[in-house]
């Protein structure tokens, strides 16, 4: 036995087709339906959502800075938390429909690290997603931070806190925190799109966007909730 030679030559056009069709298997975070892509929002909307998100992010940065001034070692821990959020959102989740989908992970983040910190970490995560995965955008960053970094974590955290007060089992708390955080993110995104393209009215447009994205997002939210239950079960057993 020796070295084997011979390799098929692939034409450029075949190569192109192959690159485009296989990128999803090699590239994390190919397609999620929840981040508004670059160029999708008119200038007033892009600016408006950035202004709306800014106070939360600034508050998050302040909270984070205060925390690491007191505990310098938390710098690495918080970075690990952010990296975890990014990785989770870049992983392909099992899906019912067969289309690939990614968890938002903001529900778990909100429970583990609290919403203010998540506002800051999510901003960095979204910036990384825009620049490392061409996922989301820069002019749409404010809108995406609002839906994924603010609305999602607060709704998730709210559900978690309310169910905790009601003494619901941990599994139930986690399921609803994760699922509702995901749902809230997608509903806010639908609302943002409806506001930008109110055709003919914001209400009708919201119903339209919400319905179309619901096809992928509702099963996804349920699965994300179930994944959360497994996640916290494993964490508790360690």
């Amino acid at each position: 036995m020796g070295i084997r030679h011979g390799r098929a030559t692939v034409s450029q056009s075949q190569e192109l087709v192959r690159v485009i069709t296989t990128i999803g298997t090699r590239h994390p975070g190919k397609d999620s339906a929840v981040h508004i892509a670059e160029g999708f929002l008119p200038v007033p909307h892009a600016v408006g959502w950035a202004v709306a998100a800014a106070p939360f992010v600034v508050h998050g940065v302040r909270a984070t800075v205060r925390q690491v001034r007191e505990h310098p070692e938390d710098r690495v821990l918080l970075a690990a938390a952010g990296a975890f959020t990014f990785i989770l959102s870049a992983l392909k989740m099992p899906s019912v429909t067969g289309s690939s989908s990614h968890p938002t992970g903001t529900g778990a983040g909100a429970i583990l690290f609290r919403p203010p910190v998540m506002a800051f970490l999510s901003t960095v995560v979204l910036l990384f997603q825009a620049l490392l995965l061409a996922h989301g955008g820069l002019t749409t960053l404010g809108a995406n931070v609002f839906s994924m970094g603010i609305a999602g974590p607060w709704v998730g955290y709210g559900a978690y806190a309310a169910l905790r007060r009601l003494r619901a089992p941990l599994e139930v708390q986690v399921f609803f925190a994760m699922a509702l955080a995901d749902l809230a993110t997608y509903l806010v995104t639908s609302f943002q799109l409806a506001l930008a393209y109110p055709d003919p009215s914001v209400g009708a447009a919201f119903a339209k966007f919400a319905t179309i994205f619901a096809l992928t997002q509702v099963p996804l939210a349920v699965i994300e909730g179930l994944v959360g239950v497994v996640l916290f079960r494993v964490l508790r057993s360690i």
Binding site: L16, I20, H27, P28, G29, K30, D31, A33, A37, E38, G39, F40, V43, V61, T64, V65, V68, P72, E73, R75, V76, L77, L78, A79, A80, G82, A83, F84, F86, I87, A90, L91, P94, V96, P103, L121, V124, F128, A130, L131, L132, L133, A134, G137, L138, T139, L193, P200, A204, A205, K208, F209, I212, F213, L226, V227, V230, L231, V234, L235
Partner: protein, 259 residues
Amino acid sequence: MAFSIDAAAWGSPWRRIAVADKALLVTGTLVLDLLVPAWPGTLLVAAGLTIAAIASARVDWRLWLAALALPLTFVLTGVLSIALQVGPPAPGSTPWWSWGPLAVTAESVARAGTVLGRSLAGTCAVVLLAVSTPMVDLVDAGRRLGVPAPAMDIAALMYRLLFVLWESAVTIRSAQAARLGYVGLRRSVRSFGSLAAGVLVSAWDRSRRLEQGLSGRGYTDDLRTLRHVRPHSPVFLAATGAWLLALAAIGTYGSGVLG
């Protein structure tokens, strides 16, 4: 080796250009992209940036196309949703197709076309920044802009840990798949949940170890390092200026002609 955009950025000839210069090109283009009439403005933007990317920034054309295709799912879903109207068509619109409360009109298709163009051109601009500027350079730029050091330290560490954790995630996932953990939805959800837990545990473990490693290197508060100093490039700035002016001029002229 999943992050091909990042890999391209580290080897880009445009890495030598100051981040501020590139930021001017990209943000200027992004703003004009949203302001100029979409057709033919956005096509011009996309074409110009593609030429700049492939001819000057030496981006592999396969990577360029693949990166532009990444937001495709969202863009197509979004654009088709905009083309589809719900409720009675506005007075004066030209209906092309209707079914019950649903309608597609010339105006809604035009709007969808506008968004499609802006999204394509905008994605070109963001990807051009992404393939020519590694994250560390952007973090340094953030520090110069006065973002608090701890926040930038966390962003920089996040970027570093990302790759370490990604390796873990890929390994855990393939180990699970090898033992048939992704056969059937039920098992898949369980495996994915324990994958998430595994990555989180590994994140904690890594952060604790890195914290110890750093304290051995004298880490007390800020993570001070040397920064790359890249002078402004007059040629690049002149070209950027000319490009933005041309875009603005065509935009103004175009809106006069096309209304």
